[in-house]
Symmetry: C2
Subunit: 173 residues, 2 copies
């Protein structure tokens, strides 16, 4: 049985990391490489699982996040601000808002102060949608880390944060 068959789904082993490093005579630390690769694989899986989940409510991760952000901001926000806080391009926000608007979860209004600007408003229907999804959503998130104690969660959060800080450097370089 092949290695990959026994271990499907983007979860590489330490052996694989070691082999790859040695193939080119590099001196990288296999464990360090494994951490990075596993984190990426997990991230990708999580993103996809989330997309699958939200699509069952006719939403998507992006649309849901936009709705939540809107509610956190008291129900109104400009597309630019949304792009910034969601860490997504303005063009993407335009698309997300268009979709949400089509389903009546959000509405567009012209900005009163700035002639160029627009304001995205959470509709009653959008707020209700969020309310209906809340319990299930948070239960799902909680269940992800069910297996960890409070201490372990704190620890994980700390380690994760220290890794996250390095991501910026990767793109900038």
């Amino acid at each position: 049985m092949r290695n990959e068959d026994a271990n499907p789904g983007a979860a590489p082993t330490l052996e694989q990391a070691r082999t790859q490093i040695e193939r080119y005579g590099l001196d990288a630390d296999p464990q360090a490489v494994l951490v990075a690769v596993r984190l990426m694989a997990t991230g990708a899986r999580l993103v996809r699982a989330s997309e699958v989940h939200f699509s069952r409510s006719g939403l998507s991760t992006g649309r849901y996040r936009l709705l939540v952000d809107l509610e956190d901001s008291g129900g109104e926000k400009s597309p630019s601000q949304l792009a910034k806080s969601l860490d997504v391009s303005r063009a993407t926000v335009t698309g997300l808002v268009s979709g949400l608007e089509r389903e009546g979860l959000v509405a567009r209004r012209a900005s009163a102060e700035d002639g160029r600007g627009a304001v995205v408003v959470l509709t009653a229907r959008g707020a209700r949608q969020l309310r209906e999804m809340a319990a299930d959503h948070f239960a799902r998130l909680e269940s992800l880390v069910d297996g960890l104690t409070a201490d372990e969660r704190g620890l994980f959060l700390d380690l994760l944060e220290r890794i996250t800080r390095r991501i910026g450097a990767l793109t900038a370089e």
Copy 2:
């Protein structure tokens, strides 16, 4: 200054988690929720950073992973096997292979044993491409976890794995 402006880029705070939970009178643990949300945010950022990086070599994360997988398997593999080990649909593999073939990094051959089957072969050019990228690639991965000691990396790996095991349940449900 708004909270999101001070903390851009999909890195929610404990406060935000608490607020959202309380808004609907739920009793979820804010810390647990935070861990899950941060992990997803980090994953998404990592995936995007990776895409940016590979696009500079005319590749993508998916194409690179396919190339590596091919090399790990001795340079040949069927599209179905690739789909399985990359955890991606067969249709996606078709697309990845087409792209790689166009650039001469990979070639398609008909399977000798199975009339339906095909075999994807790593070309000399594909192997060279991998060789050229290796040092930089592994250095990048290593630098991601530079800030962690070997013990911390082991710990992180363990915690991450225990979380990853739960992802399946999320989608299945």
